[in-house]
Amino acid sequence: MAKAKVKTKAKAEGELSWKEIEIGCFITEPGNATEFRTGDWRSRKPVVDFSKCNKCTLCYYYCPEGCVAKTPEGYFEADLFYCKGCGICAEECPKDAITMVEEEK
């Protein structure tokens, strides 16, 4: 499973003081939206039963967040750093291999 590439050199946005913000809140690093954790919006997460999965890739294509990636074994799984828990993968899975499970608080 692909890990989210989170840069650690800079402070997380939530820790920046007002003095450290770029002029006009410009973003100077292209593609740094990858550092934005969208996974914390989620109330339910997709859990894959690999014994049912036939590696059809539909979840990979349907994921609106593009956060489903191939595992070393050739299965597909969502990166929970980004997954917003929309449930589309579970809905579309022809093998019912994906279950949406309540996040534990």
Binding site: G14, S17, G24, F26
Partner: protein
């Protein structure tokens, strides 16, 4: 050496933008601003000004085009008034938040309805919270000088904010006045080229105007506020430097014959000229009356104002705008707020007048002073007084 010539103030404002060597002008004509942008369009069309003139279909588009131009690093100028300024409203916030030093001349005009093409400050006051620097001028020379200063102030790395130069519609914009246009070489020395820190550049891409979640928005807004606050120093510094170079000095709060004055009038814009003559007359009659002219409206010069009025007993503030259902004129309520924490402060009496081009004469100022003194002694049931309304 620059010569003093007779010029329509609007034309002179256009010439000042030319002297500042603007790269882009995007504007939509509206009375009484029209002559400013007409003149600039002519200068560009005649090849006298090497700039892009972007004719747009509305003021909303004008300011939007200015945003883009300024973001790539162009020195950008526009002008508007009244409804035009209001149509720009939402884009004004974007300009200041993105820290783009656009300069805009505003030929102050009343707001509809009923339609009025004449001057008051309703348009200027409605945009006071948009994060722009707002400077009021009282004659044509001041308009020219401050358009040039506006670029230097706004583009300063310590500021990077847009600037509005407020000149009263018709009573300034359409007057022919003796004006000194500085020499190009002098302006070039005074105003360095615009060198933006983060221009839009394909070689070094940046994202402008991205979204900010709740965990960062407050910090961004506070940075903006601190920046506008810090701009005060740069503004004063620029005016000092301008004075040294061109011999004409400006300051955030200006005092006229205030020595020993128990009563102070306070005005903004072109009426200050009439008020000065009224003060001269009252002084000649032995009345201890002086005048405070507020030049810098945003960022508000709290310290300078407190200093300027501290010895007065009565301060009579004239506003040319109404804040409906509120405490009266915006200037007066700001002044009251500024003085609230002072142990010793003058009694503040607020008048609203000069709306929609209604003239305020010398005699009116005298009347305002005598009414103001009376109200300061006896108090009033109202939060503010409306001047000259027919019952």
């Amino acid at each position: 050496m620059a010569k003093r010539v007779g010029l329509e103030v609007s034309v002179a404002v256009g010439d000042a933008a030319k002297l500042a060597n603007v790269d882009v002008v995007a504007a939509y004509p509206i009375t009484p601003q029209t002559h400013i942008v007409e003149h600039l369009a002519e200068l560009v069309a005649n090849g006298e000004l090497r700039a892009a003139y972007i004719p747009v279909e509305s003021e909303h588009s004008a300011m939007s085009a200015c945003l883009g131009a300024s973001a790539v690093g162009a020195r950008t100028f526009t002008a508007t008034a009244s409804q035009g300024l209001e149509l720009m409203h939402e884009v004004l916030y974007v300009a200041s938040s993105l820290r783009l030093p656009i300069v805009m001349a505003v030929a102050n005009r009343a707001l509809s309805a009923p339609i009025s093409i004449w001057c008051d400050h309703s348009d200027a006051m409605a945009v006071r919270d948009t994060g722009w620097i707002q400077i009021f001028v009282e004659n044509g020379q001041e308009a020219v000088d401050n358009v040039i200063c506006a670029f230097r102030i706004g583009e300063d790395r310590r500021v990077l904010l847009p600037v509005m130069i407020h000149l009263d519609g018709f009573s300034l914009s359409h007057m022919i006045e003796p004006i000194i246009l500085p020499e190009q070489s002098e302006v070039d020395r005074f105003l360095p080229p615009y060198n933006p820190p983060l221009p839009l550049d394909p070689e070094k891409p940046v994202t402008v105007g991205a979204f900010a979640p709740p965990f960062i928005y407050t910090e961004v807004k506070w940075a903006q506020e601190m920046n506008l606050e810090a701009a005060k120093e740069v503004i004063s510094e620029c005016w000092q430097e301008f004075g040294k170079t061109f011999g004409r000095y400006y300051s955030p709060v200006e005092s006229y014959r205030t020595e020993g004055a128990k009563v102070l009038l306070m005005t903004m814009g072109s009426l200050s000229e009439t008020a000065m003559v009224a003060v001269d007359k009252m002084r000649s009659e032995g009345k201890e009356v002086g005048l405070i002219k507020l030049r810098l409206w945003r960022p508000f010069p709290f310290a300078e104002l407190r200093q300027a009025v501290k010895d007065a007993e009565v301060l009579i503030v004239l506003d040319r705008a109404l804040s409906f259902g509120g405490p009266g004129g915006p200037v007066c309520s700001e002044v009251k707020a500024a003085l609230y924490r002072e142990a010793k402060r003058p009694a503040v009496v607020g008048f609203v007048g000069g709306l929609g081009g209604r003239d305020i004469s010398m005699a009116d100022f005298e009347e305002m002073v005598s009414q103001g003194i009376k109200i300061a002694q006896t108090g009033s049931e109202r939060e503010f007084e409306i001047f000259g309304v027919r019952e």
